[in-house]
Symmetry: C3
Subunit: 326 residues, 3 copies
């Protein structure tokens, strides 16, 4: 299935926006690189984004074996057959951990790059210089540029939340100006954030209202996907559904899961509702007609349609197309 | 009534603050420039701020006729007699629409300028350069400077909300340094904001809590009026009252209305309560006495009174004076 | 007891963080410098941080006598015997009041400096230049540098809340680069903030949700204590407890009190719970062992431990040690 992802696209050149393959990330699931039994199951796991994990899910004493396992997995990717996920990513360790370079030395030995590199605890624009250096010195600039690999980063501290606009613009500029991977989604690391500000997590989540809503606003100001916090109470399915729907209503595009049982609840919650799908399809049809007519400003059902709205419609249609093909 | 607005003032020179005619904007009502029947009723509509509308309320195919109607209305303003509103503004189209210059070319043919120019979707400080250019090339710098016309702008995107302090300071500086209209109020465009971040609007409005409270904070940091979101459920009068009172309690000065039936509920909700009016009157009396005595710092009922508090008191008194004269 | 405060420390050099005497500020209590009867009771008041007050708690006509009383109190500090508070601070008047320099002229005559200087209404980084000038011209740079006195500042306006990151970094830099007092805690002045933005205070406090959560985030981004708003309804003990626990859950480290009866409720609410104390003790034990072993990255119970988490653990243990010694 992977190969299709990077070619799937809308036939029309919409407002000159390059959208090579929109990737829904309604749910993320972590698979620790040290867990060999779970690694063998990866091709069968149904989740939008599957994360091969080197960071918090792997004990310090198991980092070496986890790196080795993930590198081997990437090296033999073709032999694994089709995957049920939409994206296979690898989460490496953070700059502050001091483990990042060792991660990349090992991973870069594999023939293939993951479809997404996932970087936790990005705390400042300065972190990105260190990240870029580590990638360039292991993978080399050319291999990075030709990879088509996306970037997903985690915001997990007070400092990062305050400086988020600069972090996001710096990351996007590194793609434009230096050929680094393209930033596509940002994840809110709620547990580390709460530990950082000394807050106590509750099931209602009032303590992170400001953080989550500022987070969404920052992501959307840069047209990036926003991925919501984990819901730590695994047994509370109704609480998970409530918080998933709340996240969706607030503008989030997906949510982290900490257990496979959470995936269907989350993915169902983040599915666009039928009337929204209808709206999106009609809007795109209308836009294609409008493009052909060569007219100026574009209105649909009485509203002027701008770039973010058109992108929203395209993402909805692509999510649905993808699910229908699954 | 218009002529009185610009001369009404407190007799005393309060802390050197120039407050020529405070304009309450408890409710805003939009009248589409394309709706000729409704335009004839404009002089009789009782609302603090009445907005002759060229933007979202006017279909793309009707922009030309709407511009023409509004220009004609401004041209014959004296013949309309007294108006029941406190301010007659015109909302033009946004920079990104590409329609702004055509709006101003037509409007500038009228003898009179509106009392307020209202500009939607101001997304960045850079937008303001384009706005200033369009005004200067149509109205000319001199006519702008001598107009006494105020500026009201809309914040309607994630980018604008994040960059709001720079947007507001740039706009205020354009008045000081280049003689552009003086920014007086800022409106939160909640529908476009929610579409921009992908949020779903609810009657409770939790999804915009961060946005609305950040919005108020930014407005008040620059001593500007803050105008709240629309309440889209026209039939739910109690919901409208609840959200109006909530907005007032959070620091908003007014609210947009989408139907004339909403106006009395909104304007009643944003009326200062009697004890606050009493407080304001006594504070101003005390300040006038204090000024005459030539003393230093000013205290009232045990509190040191600073500039924002004094302004607050003056605005309350002027709102009440205005309403008593109505 | 004072003398012990500045020497108490953990024996191990933890990640090179200098923590000379962590000061818990679960509750702050103001004692007006003009209230001579209450001043005589100061040594017996049990509160974490006791604030000798020159600002809002003192009428303009009593500023002179209040300055004199506090200077005398500091001058004769040894003769007062042990105090029951953890910190004895002095709150001076703000830059904008025009009273700051006169405050410091009088206070600097005393032999001793307070353990903390507390400065209200810091509105901008520019205020800090004026503050530093006033201190240097009265106390002199050398006396300031050798004092060990801490700094606590108040954020009380929309402008200050928006510019908080720059205000905090400027203040911390003035300690590093110019030898000014070290900033240790920041207090949210909720009443003045609400007056500034025109909000109405309620017991539930929804109107300040954004402000309080942004405030905590800014404090924690700079590793500073965050002190919460006052609870104005003195008779509502359950409301006070609810809001104290809410503040604690959101990441605040303490709360202002406006009456001695509020102190026990507040201090109990901000006490770390037993399981958190246990966690902190074990983490620190583990860290000391780890340090001696000379290993690299440090994990505890499966999580990588970073600097903010270690600091959190130390603060918890020091708060508990202090209370056991009381």
């Amino acid at each position: 299935m992977f190969s299709k992802i990077f070619t799937r696209n809308l036939s029309t050149n919409v407002m000159k926006i390059d959208r090579k393959g929109y990737i829904p990330r309604r749910a993320l699931l972590y698979v620790p690189g040290s867990n060999e039994k779970m690694l063998t199951k990866v091709p069968t796991i149904k989740v939008d984004s599957l994360v091969l994990e080197l960071e918090d899910g792997v004990a310090l004493t198991s980092k070496t074996i986890a790196r080795h396992n993930i590198a081997k997995y990437l090296d033999n990717l073709e032999s694994k057959g089709d995957h049920q996920c939409f994206e296979l990513g690898v989460r490496i360790n953070s700059v502050s951990s001091g483990l990042l370079l060792d991660d990349l030395k090992e991973l870069s030995k594999a023939k293939q790059l993951p479809q997404a590199f996932m970087i936790p605890k990005v705390d400042s624009p300065e972190d990105l210089a260190a990240i870029w250096d580590a990638f360039r010195s292991t993978y080399g600039a050319e291999r990075i540029q030709n990879s088509g690999t996306r970037l997903v980063i985690w915001i997990e501290s007070a400092q990062a939340l305050l400086d988020m606009p600069r972090i996001l613009s710096t990351t996007l500029n590194m793609n434009k100006n230096a050929g680094f991977f393209k930033l596509d989604a940002v994840v809110f690391g709620s547990d580390d954030f709460c530990a950082n500000i000394g807050a106590t997590r509750s099931n209602e989540g009032t303590e992170t209202l400001f953080a989550r809503q500022r987070f969404v606003t920052c992501c959307k100001a840069f047209n990036l996907q926003a991925i919501d916090s984990v819901y730590i109470d695994i047994k509370d399915i109704e609480g998970l559904r409530r918080q998933s729907l709340e996240g969706k209503a607030w503008g989030f595009d997906g949510k982290q899961s900490i257990h496979p049982t959470q995936i269907p609840i989350i993915q169902e919650s983040f599915l666009p509702p039928p009337d929204k799908v209808q709206w999106a399809k009609e809007l795109i049809d209308e836009f294609v007609k409008h493009e052909q007519s060569g007219k100026g400003a574009f209105t649909f059902k009485g509203s002027m349609i701008d770039r973010p709205l058109l992108l929203q419609a395209m993402n909805i249609v692509q999510t649905i197309k993808y699910l229908e093909n699954l």
